[in-house]
C-alpha cells in the first residue's frame, strides 16, 4: 500500500480548501452584484420620483402665468425666483432631493408669452472639498527636518 494512513486526510484538507476558495470566489461577486443592482434600482426610482415632482411643480408654476406672483412653496418644495431685466423674465429655480448627496436642480424662465427651461439636472448637495488631512511634504527643505 503506497499511500499510508493519513494521506487521504491530507488530500481531503486540500480538496476542501480548494472547494471553499471556489465557493467564496463565486459567492462574493454575486453578493456584490446584487448589492450594486439594489442600490441602482433605489437611485433610479428616487430620481424618477424627484423628476415627477419637479414636472408637477413646473406645470403648476407655469399655469400661474407671467403676471402672477411666484409662490414661495409648491407641494412642500421651496421655490426661489428673481426678476431678470436682461431676459425680461421671471427666473424660477428649485431643488428636489434625490439622495442624501444629490439633488435635482430645475431652473426656468417665465416670459410674457412663453417659458423656457434653463436647467434640469442633477447636482451635488454639498460643495466638493479637497481632502487635506494627509500630512504630505509641503515643499520645505527635506533635510531640515532631520
Amino acid at each position: 500500500m503506497r499511500g499510508g494512513i493519513g494521506t487521504a486526510s491530507v488530500v481531503l484538507v486540500f480538496t476542501v480548501l480548494c472547494l471553499s476558495i471556489f465557493t467564496v470566489t463565486a459567492l462574493v461577486p454575486a453578493m456584490l452584484d446584487r448589492r450594486m443592482i439594489e442600490a441602482e434600482v433605489e437611485f433610479v426610482t428616487s430620481y424618477y420620483s424627484a423628476d415627477t415632482l419637479a414636472e408637477q411643480i413646473f406645470s403648476e408654476i407655469i399655469s400661474f402665468g407671467f403676471a402672477a406672483e411666484t409662490p414661495e412653496n409648491v407641494m412642500g418644495v421651496e421655490i426661489n425666483s428673481y426678476w431678470d431685466w436682461d431676459l425680461f423674465a421671471e427666473v424660477v429655480y428649485f431643488t428636489i432631493p434625490i439622495t442624501e448627496t444629490q439633488l435635482l436642480y430645475t431652473s426656468f424662465g417665465i416670459f410674457e408669452d412663453s417659458h423656457k427651461i434653463f436647467a434640469w439636472q442633477m447636482v451635488n448637495a454639498s460643495e466638493w472639498e479637497a481632502d487635506g488631512r494627509l500630512n504630505v511634504w509641503q515643499g520645505n527643505d527635506f533635510f531640515s527636518s532631520y
Partner: protein
C-alpha cells in the same frame, strides 16, 4: 498478522471518515454555489428590467405620455406594464411596473408634460 489487520481497519476507518467529511463539505459548497448562480441570474434579470423600465419612462416623457409610442422592451423573463394615473391632467403621471413571474420587482413613476 494481527498488526496488519489492525492497520487495515484503521485505514478503512480513515477512508470512511474522509468520504463522510468530503460529502458534507461538497454538499455545503454545491448549495452555496447554486445560491450564488441564482443571485447572479437575479441581478442580471433585475438589471435588464431596470433598463427596460428606464427606456419606457424616457419614451413616455419624450412622446408626451402617448402610450402607443412608449417603448416596451420584450423579454420572456419579466413583464412590463404602464398604468396612467390621470390621462386628462396637464402632467401625465404613469407607474411603470416590472414584475417577474407575478412578483413586482420595481416601479418607476414617470411624468410627461402634455405640451412640452
Amino acid at each position: 498478522m494481527k498488526m496488519k489487520k489492525s492497520k487495515s481497519s484503521l485505514f478503512l476507518m480513515e477512508q470512511i471518515v474522509v468520504i463522510t467529511v468530503f460529502a458534507i463539505c461538497a454538499a455545503v459548497c454545491v448549495k452555496i454555489l447554486s445560491l450564488s448562480f441564482i443571485m447572479t441570474d437575479d441581478a442580471v434579470v433585475t438589471r435588464n428590467a431596470l433598463l427596460a423600465a428606464e427606456n419606457a419612462a424616457e419614451s413616455f416623457k419624450a412622446f408626451s405620455g402617448d402610450l402607443e409610442r412608449v417603448v416596451l422592451d420584450e423579454d420572456d423573463r419579466f413583464d412590463l406594464s404602464v398604468a396612467v394615473r390621470d390621462p386628462e391632467a396637464d402632467v401625465i403621471v404613469a407607474d411603470i411596473t416590472v414584475s417577474v413571474s407575478g412578483e413586482e420587482i420595481l416601479t418607476l413613476t414617470a411624468a410627461a408634460r402634455r405640451n412640452p
